[in-house]
């Protein structure tokens, strides 16, 4: 395997936007191998991905965003990739930002997170922004560095941190403050990189409807608490294990 950079695109029923995204990725990040994790789509997501020269992993049923991303990591580990970048299949993330995420890794970060809030505000509903701010503040406090966008799925990572994310410790639904705190607890360096994000097409994500936000806040607090209460791993041991 010559290519050591894997671009993982989790996609659930994204046949419409996936083609353009993959073309764009190919153009902006020519050295990356493309992997689409088809999370149980019922449309032609997998076929579109193959037509654009991407490798495809198909979940037998819908398992959720975090699991899809993790399946991509398992693939990366087995095939010996040492750097992985996640780009959402719905076109929210601009492949043109990928080189800057990779540059942050070259500068010594283990995880580079694309943040939409570092430069200027990103239009989002008030309640969501409030929750987002709260967890960003909490994460900043615990991690000990400024975290502006904990929910960003636009991330690049390199080295031993891949094994951590492929393990049972990885939170199975959406990445959030808990993931960053987990990363920090294991002694990995996080770096935020300013990126532009396109607002989601097709209205609000399912995550923000009805009682969901309340459930989500409680779950996140619990998740962070549990991560903090687990015995901290030997930092050096984890970092140099892989």
């Amino acid at each position: 395997m010559v290519a050591s950079l894997l671009a993982v695109v989790p996609a659930y029923n994204e046949e419409e936007s996936l083609g353009a995204l993959l073309r764009d990725l190919r153009a902006k990040v020519p050295n990356a191998e493309l992997l689409v994790v088809d999370d149980g789509s019922v449309d032609a997501t997998a076929a579109v991905a193959r037509a654009h020269g991407a490798r495809v992993l198909s979940h037998p049923h819908n398992l959720g965003y975090g699991v899809a991303v993790q399946t991509g990591l398992l693939y990366a580990l087995r095939r010996g990739f040492d750097t992985v970048v996640h780009v959402d299949g719905d076109g929210q993330h601009d492949p043109a930002d990928v080189p800057r995420l990779l540059a942050a890794l070259d500068a010594g970060a283990d995880v580079a997170v694309g943040s939409r809030f570092l430069v200027r505000g990103y239009p989002s509903p008030l309640l969501r922004r409030l929750g987002s701010r709260m967890f960003a503040a909490l994460a900043s406090l615990i991690v000990g560095q400024r975290i502006t966008d904990p929910t960003s799925g636009f991330r690049a990572m390199r080295g031993p941190v891949l094994s951590l994310y492929a393990s049972e410790s990885y939170p199975p639904d959406y990445p959030d403050a808990d993931l960053l705190i987990l990363t920090h607890r294991h002694g990995f360096r996080i770096c935020e990189v300013a990126v532009e994000m396109q607002p989601r097409r097709g209205g609000e994500a399912k995550l923000h409807r009805g009682l969901r936000p309340i459930y989500y806040v409680i779950k996140m607090v619990l998740s962070i608490l549990v991560i903090l209460l687990r015995r901290a791993p030997e930092r050096s041991a984890v970092r140099h294990a892989a």
Partner: protein, 123 residues
């Protein structure tokens, strides 16, 4: 304890015991899961047959009614078994998740171009 409720409690716990046993015999219930039910029905059976024992335990627990003692133990058992199920379900969902990931990876290994897998889903 009034004789009528005693009769009902004895009958129900006996039926439960026999039914759980029968389920295990027909292999529709694993022994692992049957133990809790068998013990619970046996305890309720013994408590409702023996008034003296029930009286002792009732005063020990501090309940005023015999029936409360029975309900109390029944409730405790239900809580315990629900918790046990939650733990099992968590373990099972983790296993299903890992298996699905493994399946996706294996399928790609065997058939990277997706020639034979198109449109064929497990659900």
């Amino acid at each position: 304890m009034p004789p009528r409720i005693q009769l009902i409690a004895v009958a129900l716990s006996f039926l439960l015991f026999v039914y759980v046993f029968e389920l295990v015999r027909r292999r529709r219930l694993d022994i692992e899961y049957s133990l809790g039910w068998l013990v619970a029905s046996a305890v309720i059976f013994v408590l409702s047959v023996s008034r003296k024992l029930l009286a002792v335990i009732t005063s020990l627990v501090g309940a005023t009614l015999f029936t409360s003692t029975l309900f109390f133990f029944g409730l405790m058992f239900l809580i315990a078994i629900c918790l046990h199920f939650s733990v099992r379900i968590s373990a099972l969902s983790n296993q299903v998740r890992r298996l699905s990931q493994e399946l996706a990876l294996r399928r790609e290994e065997e058939d990277p171009r997706g020639c034979c897998g198109c449109g064929e889903r497990l659900n």
